[in-house]
């Protein structure tokens, strides 16, 4: 074939120039580039996420159900950030007391305090105290416990969300409540109280039902009587935030931003495979059918009509349930069935183009069959194929997401669908965890918008007749 490199270069350049003129298309295309970029960078942007999604240990240090960091800008109130203290602020060697100072200036105080204490001791048992000194002078003693030493070391974990933590918090709140309502015989029970907020709440009549953040300086004191030395590695405190990262966390502490990155990756992978395969199979099938005509066409069209009658959703449900919950099975089913509608369009257009005189004119100029197909037929059909193929990507990704919600999520990968399925499973809607629902769904929407507008713009560029409109 006698197409020269500089021709191709020139043609590509001029097409690019024209594409840049399409505003919506450029926006859509930028979205795709963005998604592609974060997919390619996913091993660095979001390490240890893919296989670790269901592993709670991977997410241990994160806050539970924290809003995204930018929530403060769009919603009323300020939220405590996530604050991990590897080092104590003060050490009193006489009583072996360590102190952590926490400045609470937020309308929504930390969702939890988790304390890890470890150290060495020559005794067989030590006595451990953990208490929180509030700005109003109140003191909540959370831990007063004897801890046994094995091999000269110990490690201890305490959390406000542990049963002991909840007990102490509730008792504290209940005492305050009683001060205001001495005659209340049925105070709110523990389940109906926003308990993690109580230690940080103002001492007023609403402390149990509608606690209000008490701002000021809090001091967390850990005292281990009988200890020789604290272990710096194992001793740390987490003031878990009410906001975290770019996208917040889910109720299992998973960092949604990390999941989102991999969601974008898998969306592009499954969508890309399906749309590329559909475009190629449809072009091959439709062109063969249109080119040969006659009984070949007849048989191919009859077969395609039968395929078109097969509903894809039940097939997906049954195969994924019976064979395995894998995105690859979903991809396989779509590769087998996805091209059928497109092939029909391609064939119809192909027959039309074959009848156009310019195809014959090209033959009379001396073009070979291959040249006619590559220079005249495929360029004419490709925009349709690409536009349709682009629409297919969001379709497949949404199908995957829907199947995840039905309980057919692939447990080995993180997809937007799986994130949404978990949001549904853990009742994110009725708990008001909007970011958990909004952001993965926004991924689906962005993907759809990006590919639809790009497809439309591309069609205009390759098909100059449409540009006049």
């Amino acid at each position: 074939m006698s197409i020269r490199i500089d021709d191709i270069k020139e043609r590509a350049l001029s097409m690019m120039k024209e594409f840049k003129g399409q505003r919506m298309g450029m926006i859509g295309f930028s979205i795709i580039i963005f998604l592609l970029a974060i997919s390619l960078l996913s091993p660095w942007l979001a390490p240890d996420t893919d296989g670790q999604w269901a592993n709670p240990g991977r997410w241990e240090d994160n806050p539970r159900s924290a809003a995204p960091n930018w929530a403060d800008y769009i919603l009323p109130g300020t939220r405590a950030p996530h604050d991990i203290r590897e080092d104590y602020d003060e050490l009193d060697r006489t009583f072996m007391t360590i102190k952590y100072v926490y400045e609470n200036e937020y309308d929504y105080p930390p969702s939890d305090i988790t304390v890890f204490v470890s150290g060495t001791s020559s005794e067989s048992r030590i006595r451990l105290y953990i208490d929180l000194i509030r700005p109003d002078g109140e003191n909540i003693l959370f831990v007063d416990e004897s801890v046994s030493i094995t091999n000269g070391t110990f490690s201890y974990r305490f959390s406000l969300r542990s049963s002991a933590g909840r007990d102490r918090s509730y008792d504290f709140g209940l005492n305050a409540h009683r001060d205001f309502f001495p005659d209340d015989l049925t105070p709110p029970d523990r389940e109906s109280v926003n308990i993690q907020m109580v230690p940080f709440a103002k001492l007023n009549e609403n402390i149990l039902l509608d606690p209000e953040s008490l701002k000021g300086t809090y001091t967390l004191e850990v005292e281990a009587v009988g200890i020789d030395e604290y272990d710096d590695e194992g001793t740390r405190v987490l003031f878990r935030g009410m906001k975290y990262g770019l996208m917040g966390t889910d109720s299992n502490r998973k960092n949604l931003a990390l999941g989102w990155v991999h969601g974008a990756k898998y969306a592009l992978i499954i969508g890309g495979i399906v749309s590329l395969s559909s475009i190629s199979i449809a072009l091959l099938y439709g062109m063969t059918s249109a080119y040969y005509g006659g009984w070949v066409d007849e048989i191919m069209q009859r077969a395609n009509e039968i395929l078109l009658g097969i509903p894809i959703f039940p097939i997906l449900v049954i195969t994924m349930y019976a064979i395995g919950r894998s995105i690859w099975i979903l991809v396989l089913i779509y590769v087998i069935l996805g091209w059928r509608g497109l092939a029909k369009i391609i064939r119809a257009r192909g027959i039309q183009i074959r009848q156009d005189t310019y195809v014959e004119a090209a033959q009379s100029l001396g073009s070979s069959g291959g040249r006619v197909i590559t220079r005249h037929m495929i360029p004419q059909l490709l925009p349709y194929a690409i536009a349709e193929g682009a629409l297919m990507i969001p379709m497949v990704v949404i199908a995957e997401a829907g199947l995840s919600v039905l309980g057919l999520a692939d447990p080995t990968v993180v997809t937007w669908g799986r994130m949404l399925s978990e949001a549904n499973q853990y009742h994110a809607t009725i708990s008001g965890l909007w970011w958990w629902i909004l952001l993965p769904g926004l991924g689906l929407t962005l993907l759809g918008f990006g590919f639809i507008t790009t497809g439309m713009a591309l069609e205009r560029v390759v098909n100059p007749k449409m540009r006049q409109r």
Partner: protein
């Protein structure tokens, strides 16, 4: 043979072939699991049989009898039949609605364990929600589309187009989640879950159903109406360019009459058929929307069967019934098109 009859027969044959292919796939995937389930049942029965044997028998006699009983049961269940025979038997059973019994002890609230009974219990609610939504969306969408065609080119028209493109690309069930978040969580106007269904009778029952239906219904309509309106608008505006419409206008026939009389006559067949087809296509999305709202229909049943019960027979039954509904709906939409548009002899190929 008249062309329409020939077409009808061709399409029906197609539908049967499609159904057969899907059922064959189901049977193929089912066969193995069905065998294992049958083995479990045989083991139970043999145990019961062994317990009921007279005690004076010797050990040898006992095991002989048990072996014979087991062989007899295995013969009945056809465990040793060749694979293809099992597949074809299962295919035939599915075709004739012998869908077996559920593994679940709860029967999902239905009166017995037969899959057909359970589906009969859930299907009406899906149909109620789905057809109500379809009727509202089609009527509203066509109405909006006609209005937009009348004011084509204005801001209202453009806004509708954008709304149509945007909503058409959204997953319906995700919009459902947002709807719950807004209207149930933030505003508290509606119950977040449709389940359990009201137990009252009479007026209270219908009121309860309506309240539960409001959000899922609104979601389905919201997501589908824009696309429907947009498609209608496009079809009508393209017909408005046709010469005979121009002629009608030139004659001084009022614009309203041009649109509702002349244009709609031509536009109706493709509008109606495409509406039905797109609703059929959204079956999957609608079933997932049921899950989001806990609307106790087929989608909810499917998720429960997958998630909580791992109940193969019920899943198979739902898949078969869904396929059947789809194939019949597809056939009807096709027929309707031929019926509404006398010009089209669909399928009867032109000979050149």
């Amino acid at each position: 043979m008249p062309a329409s009859l020939k077409y009808f027969i061709l399409r029906s044959i197609n539908a049967v072939i499609v159904l057969f292919i899907v059922v064959l796939i189901i049977a193929f995937l089912y066969s193995d699991m069905a065998d294992r389930m049958a083995e479990g049942r045989i083991a139970d029965e043999v145990r019961a049989y062994a317990g009921g044997l007279p005690t004076e028998l010797t050990q040898e006699q006992r095991s002989q009898l048990i072996r014979e009983e087991r062989a007899r049961l295995e013969e009945i269940h056809g465990l040793h039949d060749p694979f293809y025979e099992k597949v074809f038997r299962r295919t035939w059973d599915t075709f004739t609605f012998r869908l077996g019994e559920s593994n679940s002890r709860t029967y999902y609230g239905a009166s017995d364990a037969r899959v057909t009974t359970i589906i009969q219990h859930y299907l009406p609610r899906t149909i109620l929600l789905f057809t109500t939504a379809a009727v509202i969306s089609i009527l509203l969408g066509i109405g909006m589309g006609l209005k937009a065609a009348q004011v084509a080119g204005t801001k209202v028209d453009k806004a509708l187009s954008i709304f149509g493109i945007l909503t058409a690309s959204l997953p319906m069930w995700w919009v459902g989640m947002l709807v719950i978040l807004i209207f149930a969580f933030s505003l508290g106007w509606f119950p977040a879950a449709s389940y359990p269904f009201p137990t009252e009778t009479g007026y209270e029952y219908y009121k309860g159903v309506l309240i539960r239906m409001a959000m899922p219904l609104a979601t389905i309509v919201f997501v589908s109406v824009g696309g429907r309106a947009w498609a209608t608008r496009n079809m009508v505006t393209s017909i408005l360019q046709d010469d005979y419409i121009m002629a009608a206008r030139a004659k001084g026939i009022p614009e309203r009459k041009v649109i509702y009389g002349h244009t709609l006559k031509t536009a109706a067949p493709p509008i109606v058929t495409s509406a039905i087809l797109s609703f059929l296509l959204s079956i999957g999305g609608a079933m997932i929307t049921e899950v989001i709202f806990n609307w106790p229909g087929m989608g909810y049943l499917l998720r429960t069967a997958i998630f909580a019960e791992s109940d193969m027979p019920v899943i198979m039954g739902i898949v078969y019934i869904t396929t059947l509904l789809w194939v019949v709906g597809y056939l009807l939409a096709d027929m309707l098109y031929g019926f509404l548009d006398p010009r089209v002899e669909v399928g009867a190929e032109k000979k050149v």
